[in-house]
């Protein structure tokens, strides 16, 4: 509604001279009018979500950043030394320790969990793409009636509890679980395989939980493709595989990027899935962070892990936002 422009600008205040004449002629400025004029509806409307996000989203990060540089004091309440401190002479003392960060990159337990997290996220994203792309493609190509049913079937699990869906895999994967029982009954295997509490189980869990996030952006991209492009390609002599590689795949690139990032980013920081299905001898960073915080009460180290994780994810997040904005603008046109 272009409120920003609908409200007409008033004459800009002049220099001091007119201010004085104004003061003497009309008495003191009516501040209520000023407030009403400058805090008109639209500024208020902008301010509410803005302030909320600043206070509850941005400020917390600054606090995490601050604490990540603090010194751990196991017996303190809270368990860290203050970073900023007013000394008696009125000087401000700032103590920044990078100890937590140094530890992060030297301690083998930490280093291996970083590598493991990224590895798990990468492999799961790739698996998700391999399964999600053909699914999205088939849905986009289905007749409109089927298309809606398929989409509903993809989205439906998303509305049911994430935790319970991960839990369902325990029953399937455990040693006396459904899959082992089924395979034993078929006679394919002689003794049960151990699948639960392995990396494999984590891949399955991530692919399972995040598949809709891969399919939906891919679908909304593939659905927009003009079928005449493929007809033109086949008219020009390209076979089905070639026209897929040369036309459909490059055109769906934004969808691939969006879908992959939507899986990769949360997968790196996944907590529930590895806790329920994953290896007990190899931690992922999220678990590391929560253990550091809840078990060791080492707030500075937990904060440092959070900051480092953020640094790792900042590039993918920025790429994602870039594509997200482009998508929104494309919808607008």
């Amino acid at each position: 509604m272009k409120l920003a422009t609908a409200r007409m600008s008033r004459a800009a205040p002049g220099r001091l001279g007119p201010v004085w004449t104004f003061l003497f002629r009309y008495g003191p400025p009516r501040w209520t009018e000023y407030v009403l004029r400058n805090w008109s509806g639209q500024r208020l409307v902008i301010a509410v979500p803005y302030l909320w996000l600043l206070v509850f989203f941005l400020v917390p990060f600054l606090i995490v950043l601050k604490i990540s540089f603090a010194e751990f004091s196991p017996l303190g309440r809270p368990p860290y030394e203050p970073v900023f401190q007013w000394l008696e002479e009125g000087a401000l003392q700032i103590k920044l320790l990078i100890g937590s960060y140094v530890y992060l990159f030297n301690e083998p337990l930490y280093v291996s969990s970083w590598i493991y997290s990224v590895k798990v996220a990468l492999i799961s994203t790739l698996l998700c793409l391999c399964l999600g792309y053909p699914m999205a493609y088939a849905i986009a190509r289905a007749t409109p009636t089927y298309r809606n049913v398929f989409l509903m079937l993809v989205i439906l699990p998303f509305w049911t509890s994430f935790l319970l869906r991960v839990y369902a895999w325990i029953g399937l994967l455990k040693t006396d679980g459904v899959i082992n029982n089924f395979l034993l009954w078929l006679g394919i295997i002689d003794e049960p395989m151990s699948m639960l509490y392995t990396s494999f189980a984590v891949y399955i869990g991530i692919v399972y939980s995040y598949l809709p996030f891969m399919i939906l952006p891919l679908y909304s991209n593939l659905e927009k493709h003009d079928n005449t492009l493929l007809e033109a390609a086949s008219d020009l002599g390209a076979g089905p595989i070639k026209s897929f590689m040369r036309i459909t795949l490059p055109l769906s690139f934004p969808g691939i990027v969006a879908g992959s990032l939507l899986v990769f980013i949360p997968a790196v920081g996944e907590y529930v899935i590895p806790s329920l299905l994953g290896r007990t001898d190899q931690l992922m960073v999220a678990k590391l962070l929560s253990d550091e915080f809840f078990l060791n009460r080492d707030w500075p180290k937990a904060s440092a892990v959070a900051i480092a994780m953020l640094m790792l994810l900042v590039v993918p997040i920025m790429i994602f936002q870039h594509f997200q904005n482009k998508e929104l603008q494309a919808n607008r046109r």
Binding site: K2, T5, A6, M8, S9, R10
Partner: protein
């Protein structure tokens, strides 16, 4: 100039307040400039519009015509300059307090309200109107636009023409001092468009509202407008009645933009009060006009000749020295009412000629492809523009 003399003649019979130097303008744009960042959308436009006019702003996309309209409605604030309506400065008045209503290009009908509710919406915002008054006014306006039996429908249950009339009714029911119409017929098909044009004029005349119409369609502007303001790159390049704009364009741009035209570049070799001659290399001859140009001697000028003002002859006319050129017919397009001939003249330039198909001719009577012809026109036909 001769054009000015003709204008005086016409003003005796018609309502043409712009001829009267003492007439009070109803809408005044004074030195309006609008910038969006570095882009100047409207550049120093001054404009006077009189009561009960239908004023058309005509121009291509991005010429600033819609921005001008949106500033009048109050959706954009001018970067500098002032807008007056009925003597009142509009600068500090937000859109919802302006006595101005707009008919949107997309019609902008509220999809969640019935036709009746859509029309009543504007009245409900006014203070001191009783329910029964609102109901009466809605019924009245529905009768005017002949939509009485569609009152309970939703916009998506209407055809394009009906939606257009709802949009018109919704804006008119507020009895605005000024109605702004953004491409009012743009979304209608050709047949419907013609019928609606005349309907629109009738409604305007019976209600006496002043209209400002924005359009890119010159035909629409020609039929609707009392005056047209042609815009290009944020500036108004010419204001005049449809006839003036068509017959006496003041610049190359206007001549070219309105209708089609053959343009010959040349040098002024004679310039007297009652006649002028132009030597044109593009034509390969001399153009003679029966009025003066009053331009600098030997200045570069352009002679614009409309295709329908050119005659095609199969044998050379008596005087081949001036306003005449020989050529070969390269293309013929039969359009039904007229035929278009593209004739390549000796200098290599292609000239466009239209002839009405008055009689049914047999094949050998018609001018044929690759036939050598002579083109000529009357000394009053060319319009000489200097820029």
């Amino acid at each position: 100039m001769q054009a000015a003399e003709r204008r005086v003649d016409k003003s005796k019979t018609k309502h043409e307040p712009w001829r009267d130097p003492h007439a009070e303008a109803y809408v005044r744009f004074e030195n309006i400039t609008k910038r969006f960042g570095d882009f100047v959308a409207v550049n120093n436009v001054s404009l006077k519009i009189f009561k009960k006019e239908i004023f058309c702003l005509l121009g291509g996309s991005g010429c600033g015509k819609s921005t001008l309209l949106r500033m009048m409605a109050g959706f954009e604030a001018p970067s500098s300059g002032a807008i007056y309506l009925d003597g009142q400065d509009m600068a500090d008045i937000p859109p919802y307090e302006r006595p101005v209503n707009m008919m949107f290009q997309s019609y902008a009908l509220f999809p969640h309200m019935t036709v009746e509710k859509n029309i009543a919406f504007g009245l409900e915002q006014e203070k001191g109107l009783s329910r029964s008054e609102i109901a009466t006014r809605v019924t009245d306006i529905l009768d005017i636009v002949k939509l009485g039996q569609f009152a309970a429908r939703r916009p998506h249950q209407l055809s394009g023409g009906q939606r257009q009339r709802v949009a018109l009714a919704r804006a008119l029911v507020k009895r605005p001092k000024l109605l702004l119409l953004d491409e009012p017929l743009g979304a209608l098909d050709k047949k419907l468009r013609e019928a609606t044009q005349f309907e629109l004029i009738n409604i305007q005349e019976s209600l006496g509202v002043t209209f400002i119409v924005v359009t890119h369609d010159q035909e629409e502007a020609m039929t609707l407008a009392s005056r047209i303001g042609v815009m290009n790159r944020g500036e108004i390049v010419q204001i005049g009645t449809p006839t003036e704009i068509y017959e006496f364009p003041m610049t190359k741009f206007v001549a070219d933009f309105i209708g089609s035209v053959n343009m010959f570049e040349g040098q002024l070799i004679e310039d007297l009060p009652d006649r002028a001659r132009i030597q044109s290399d593009e034509l390969g001859g001399t153009i003679f006009v029966d009025h003066g140009i009053s331009s600098a001697p030997s200045a570069t000028v352009w002679a614009a000749v409309r295709p329908e003002k050119i005659n095609i002859l199969r044998s050379p006319p008596a005087d081949t020295k001036e306003n005449c050129v020989k050529g070969v017919v390269k293309e013929i397009a039969y359009m039904g009412d007229v035929s278009i001939y593209l004739v390549k003249i000796d200098t290599g330039k292609t000239v466009r000629v239209t002839l009405p198909n008055v009689e049914r001719l047999s094949d050998d009577e018609r001018i044929a492809w690759d036939e050598t012809v002579w083109l000529s026109w009357h000394a009053s036909s060319p319009v000489i523009v200097t820029q």
